[in-house]
């Protein structure tokens, strides 16, 4: 179980402190897929980065399975079982897809067939990608899928995905939903957080948390929260391409 207590995150701008997260307290239950949603700029990604340890909160505490991890490094959190997929995946020079998957699995050597299954899971034809460099020759969508594959390979107790749908084309979107649906069906002993705007992802959530203006607006089961979100201002504000096409129906 992940518990955030009174998390505050402020940045300085022109000598003034601007609150990105204002006293956020949240419990992410085990064995559940929790989707954190809300308008752009509301603090969702910052929350995800605070959980992974990439960003340190200004104040507040974070507990993972009862252990205070507030001051723990990214590495220690990763080793404790927290996985994190970046919204904008990092490019490297010379590091290949197979290397990233091997590092994610924490093994010195990894067979191609083992590495390939994670790529296949995210809809990439493994043999075309396994030896490619994770560099600027890959498209945004390809990188994004590789990023998700590394988190799948890591097999974390808590996996955090920051806007996994961003940059993925519509044709692959169905495949992405299937990936998360599959993870959810095999969630036993772990939990998943997805930061997302997409209704289709919200639909497969067990829990939904709405973050707005740096605060938790509401939290509950999918059945409780989703009907409130669809058609509201926050859903429209955060709409992606799919929402735009559905604009008339909302």
């Amino acid at each position: 179980m992940l518990e955030l207590k009174n998390i505050v995150y402020q940045v300085e701008e022109n000598g003034e402190g601007i609150g990105i997260l204002n006293d956020v307290s949240l419990v992410i239950p085990d064995g559940k897929l929790t989707v954190i949603t809300g308008p752009n700029g509301g603090g969702k990604s910052t929350l995800a980065r605070i959980i992974a340890g990439v960003v340190k909160p200004t104040s507040g505490k974070i507990f993972f399975n009862g252990q205070d991890i507030t001051d723990m490094s990214i590495t220690d959190r990763a080793r404790l079982g927290i996985g994190f997929a970046f919204q904008q995946p990092v490019r490297f020079k010379g590091i290949r897809v197979v290397d990233l998957i091997r590092l994610a699995k924490g093994e010195k050597k990894l067979s191609s067939s083992d590495a390939c299954k994670y790529l296949a899971a995210v809809g990439l034809c493994a043999k075309d990608y396994i030896n490619r460099e994770v560099n600027s020759s890959l498209s945004g969508g390809e990188l994004k899928r590789i990023e998700i594959a590394t988190v799948l390979a890591k097999k974390s107790a808590l996996s955090v995905f920051d806007e996994p749908e961003a940059g993925i084309d519509l044709w692959s979107f169905q495949n992405l939903i299937e990936v998360f649906d599959g993870m959810r069906k095999n969630i036993e002993g772990s939990s998943i957080i997805i930061i997302s705007h997409q209704e289709r992802i919200l639909q497969i959530a067990d829990e939904i948390v709405l973050v707005k203006e740096g605060k938790i607006d509401c939290q509950g089961t999918c059945d409780e929260i989703l009907p409130k979100l669809v058609g509201t201002e926050s859903a429209v504000k955060s709409c992606g391409v799919v929402d735009l096409w559905k604009g008339g129906d909302n």
Binding site: A78, K93, G94, L103, T150
Partner: protein, 307 residues
């Protein structure tokens, strides 16, 4: 042929050799040839005027290799070697050179070498050269290679030049002249550490129509080491040339990149790129989220960069 364990280890580092290679070879240890084999198509003979060998590859020789590694394990040894490669027309060969110095003593050990390649029409050469140093002695390990490449019409040469560890001082000079339709590709990988000093100069003349060159260097300077990379491409005909120097600077290292282009023909298309920077913070963060420490992440990033 008897080699000591240290010499065998160096041989493995510079030429990936665990045993006597197949095909033509010449193994030089502490200034002497300790093993040589010519094949039906590749003849290796000693030079009579200076120290070194001539390697003659018959026209049309395909899929054969030549290994000419050099190992030095004697402190204070200084040698100057001239090797000439005559690559016959239409041949396709792999040439593996490389030099390793193990210096456990207090005197400097130095290997200076000149490799000249005369590559015949439509011949293809892949050349691999690895330089390596080891040993705990105070004596320096110095390597100064000069490489000259003369390429005939339609020939192709790919050079992989690697110096990853242990060479205290190096000055590499590579000069190439390309005729019509010839193509040269260079991949240089260089890492310096401690107080090492490395200079690498390229001077590539594109003299024939349709000739092209791609000189790419990846370099890492750690600790207090110094590197200078000078790459000059001269376009004297309708040709295309590209040079790239991509470097990672760490600790108190210094890197000087001096790319230069000279066009003497209106249809010479020449490009250079040079970038120096520290390891990107987000790359470290990504690998740390996979459970690597910052130091482990750094090593992986560098190993990948220099692959």
């Amino acid at each position: 042929m008897e080699l000591t364990d240290v010499q065998k280890k160096i041989l493995e580092e510079v030429a990936d050799l665990h045993k006597i290679p197949v095909g033509a070879y010449n193994i030089r240890a502490n200034g002497e040839s300790v093993g040589r084999n010519s094949s039906a198509n590749i003849e290796i003979t000693s030079k009579t005027d200076v120290s070194g060998i001539d390697i003659k590859i018959k026209p049309g020789t395909k899929n054969e290799s030549v290994h000419i590694p050099v190992v030095i394990s004697q402190t204070g040894l200084k040698e100057n070697v001239h090797n000439d490669f005559f690559v016959g027309e239409d041949s396709d060969v792999l040439i593996v050179a490389g030099c390793g110095i193990d210096n456990c003593g207090s005197s400097d050990s130095e290997h200076d070498g000149i490799h000249r390649f005369y590559i015949g029409k439509n011949a293809r050469v892949k050349y691999v050269e690895k330089h390596y140093g080891s040993g705990a002695g105070k004596g320096k390990r110095i390597l100064n290679p000069v490489t000259e490449v003369y390429m005939e019409e339609g020939s192709y040469c790919e050079m992989e030049m690697v110096q990853i560890k242990g060479v205290d001082d190096t000055e590499r000079v590579t000069h190439a002249e390309l005729k019509e339709g010839a193509r040269m590709i260079v991949h240089e990988r260089l890492m310096t550490h401690d107080d090492q000093h490395a200079v690498s100069r390229y001077d590539v003349e594109l003299n024939g129509e349709g000739s092209s060159a791609d000189v790419v260097s990846r370099a890492v300077a750690r600790d207090r080491s110094y590197q200078r990379f000078d790459a000059k491409i001269i376009g004297n005909a309708p040709c295309s040339g590209h040079s790239e120097c991509d470097s990672i600077i760490m600790d108190n290292g210094t890197i000087l990149a001096v790319p230069a282009l000279e066009a003497n023909n209106v249809d010479a298309a020449l490009i250079h790129e040079a970038a120096i920077g520290k390891i990107a913070g987000e790359q470290l963060v990504k690998l740390m989220t996979l459970g690597l420490t910052e130091q482990e992440a750094e090593e992986e990033i560098i190993n990948g960069f220099l692959r």
